[in-house]
């Protein structure tokens, strides 16, 4: 029984340490920014358009869907 109590105590200590470490650990990277409203969406589009206005180049093939014939799934 004594051994069991020790084992139980050790486990409890380990859990406590784990919780403490978890509590003390710095927050991981800030959550990625998200767009949650139409107002935010418009603001982000305006920012992207401003960034894009500084770019120049000739549009090439898309890194995306490229439909070559009829559009059927």
């Amino acid at each position: 029984m004594k051994k069991n109590r020790l084992a139980a105590g050790g486990a409890a200590a380990a859990i406590a340490v784990g919780l403490a470490v978890g509590a003390a650990a710095p927050a991981s990277a800030a959550p990625a920014e998200r767009i949650g409203s139409m107002q935010e969406l418009h603001a982000h589009v305006a920012k992207a358009v401003a960034l894009e206005s500084t770019q120049a180049g000739t549009l090439g093939d898309p890194v995306g869907q490229k439909v070559t014939e009829s559009v059927e799934s």
Binding site: A32, I35, M38, L41, Q55, L59, P62, V63, G64, K66
Partner: protein, 193 residues
């Protein structure tokens, strides 16, 4: 809910259309009836900031000024189509090339994404696609050699890997190459993102 689309039954029977699951392209067209906005290239280095939920493309296209290609500033999702140049059977060869590219950051998590459950890239390539997705610009410039290679259905992942290894900037901070695809940095560098 995964959408379905009716197609002619393969057995030629007269039991109505066969319902096949529809997968969505995360770098899709802006002008399809089902097109949705996935995100905006308003983040750091032109990376995509994702929407919490889908918004119809038609509701946003009008906000993009004339003279700006919408797929330069927005990422759209639309149904995968059989006529896509990147399609091989039920697979997308584009994501095979995209996943050859470096992941910009050592990220253990992936961006939250409203499309994931329906996304062809996710279904085919899992998190390796999600790690690279924010760096993808649908419309890229021809001056961006790497993006041009990725966009070309004839390019194999092996060719991309070799090109990245031989590029003047080297493979970048991770074994598989430079950090983003089709960003302004890429355009200015001319050879790598």
């Amino acid at each position: 809910m995964v959408g379905t689309v009716g197609v002619a039954r393969r057995d030629g029977s007269d039991k109505g259309p066969e319902q096949l699951p529809v997968t969505w392209c995360p770098s899709g067209a802006a002008d399809r009836p089902e097109s949705q906005v996935l995100g905006v290239r308003s983040g750091e280095d032109g990376h995509v900031v994702y929407l919490d939920g889908p918004v119809a493309a038609a509701e946003v296209l009008g906000v993009v000024p004339a003279g700006i290609e919408p797929t330069r500033v927005l990422r759209f999702a639309s149904h995968c189509v059989s006529a896509c140049a990147h399609r091989r059977g039920n697979d997308c060869t584009l994501v095979e090339r995209v996943r050859t590219l470096p992941s910009a950051r050592e990220e253990r998590s992936v961006p939250r994404c409203h499309l994931r459950g329906r996304c062809q890239w996710w279904q085919q390539a899992g998190v390796s696609a999600c790690h690279r997705c924010p760096a993808v610009t649908t419309a890229t410039f021809r001056e961006d050699t790497l993006a041009t290679l990725v966009a070309d259905p004839a390019t194999t992942p092996e060719q991309l890997t070799a090109w990245i290894a031989a590029s003047p900037d080297g493979p970048g901070p991770e074994p598989d190459g430079p950090e983003s695809l089709g960003t302004s940095d890429a355009a200015s560098a001319g050879t790598s993102p």
